[in-house]
């Protein structure tokens, strides 16, 4: 199982590399609307995923795949990720690809990310008290 996902990851990393989406330049230039690679790619991927889910609606209980909704964690998580994207020129996923592509600063992104994940796990009750408000419901606009 994990070997199969490893191969999915290899394909994914290859696509990241070949489309150039992993470059900080591509990501940052999307933010200043000079390069629309990221938008094109994400739209294509979302539409394809949606089509797959739509077709597989009978085989997969799509509602279990819906992300839990909680307003404050969603908003603050989005804001923190936005700050992270500007500072690193990467998303959590493309940071791994940048590491593989040989960008030296990606090591620091991963290092910071691991530190952050560790502290998040250690202080989760405190973080929850700060941000998480309501029981997490799975709200989807359609499914």
């Amino acid at each position: 199982m994990l070997i199969a996902t490893f191969f999915i990851g290899i394909l994914w990393g290859g696509i990241f590399q070949k489309t150039g989406i992993l470059r900080p330049k591509t990501i940052l230039k999307q933010l200043s609307f000079e390069d629309f690679t990221m938008l094109k790619m994400m739209s294509a991927a979302i539409v394809t995923s949606f089509a797959i889910l739509f077709l597989g609606h009978y085989f997969f209980d799509v509602h279990t795949l819906v992300k839990p909704f909680d307003l404050f964690p969603n908003i603050f998580g989005g804001i923190f990720m936005g700050i992270g994207i500007i500072l690193t020129g990467a998303c959590p996923g493309t940071a791994w690809a940048q590491l593989g592509a040989g960008y030296k600063n990606a090591r620091f992104i991963i290092l910071g990310g691991l530190l952050s994940a560790t502290f998040y796990g250690m202080f989760l009750p405190e973080v929850e008290a700060l941000f998480i408000s309501n029981p997490q419901e799975k709200i989807s606009l359609v499914f």
Binding site: G13, V66, W96
Partner: protein, 169 residues
């Protein structure tokens, strides 16, 4: 030193990534996502030194979705490494120099940014792939909120960063 040509159209690349949802769904019954990989790797690391039963939320990442996303992430590292153009050594993206940032500044920014990135992703319950790709495709309300706040913050913040550093140099 930095080649500009693109080999794969972003539309094709996006469709291919979307198609990767099929094996992911069939094998694991889950949509693609990557933000748990950090938590999982740190859990494996901590597991060597500490008894993790004090931290059930870290221990949880040793099984289930954690190792699965970690193997995806490892695959991405290997895939990006294998498909990179040989003989090109990348220190940092030249675009950072264009923005007027020095190497050391980029390293510091990367470290701080990594902390923000993963903290935000864990808090929001997904990253650009988990929420942006899979979450939006299931039309989750949370994903729309996360993606809009994320890109609004990033667009506004990058505008500010560009202004500060481009004008200073």
């Amino acid at each position: 030193m930095h080649q500009e040509e693109k080999n794969l159209s972003p539309y094709i690349g996006g469709i291919l990534i979307g198609l990767l949802q099929i094996p992911s769904l069939l094998l694991f019954g889950k949509l693609l996502g990557l933000s748990s990989s950090y938590g999982s790797l740190s859990a494996y690391f901590l597991n060597i030194f500490y008894d993790l039963s004090f931290y059930p939320h870290i221990q949880k990442l040793l099984t289930g979705v954690g190792p699965w996303q970690l193997s995806l992430a490892t695959g991405i590292v290997v895939g990006a490494y294998l498909s990179r153009k040989p003989k090109i050594s990348l220190d940092i993206d030249p675009y950072w120099h264009y923005l007027g940032l020095q190497k050391k500044t980029v390293y510091t920014f990367s470290f701080i940014g990594g902390i923000f990135l993963v903290f935000g992703a864990r808090l929001a319950g997904g990253c650009t792939s988990g929420h942006g790709l899979s979450g939006i495709a299931t039309l989750s309300l949370s994903s729309f909120i996360v993606m809009s706040t994320m890109f609004l913050t990033a667009i506004a913040g990058f505008f500010g960063l560009k202004k500060i550093f481009r004008e200073k140099n």
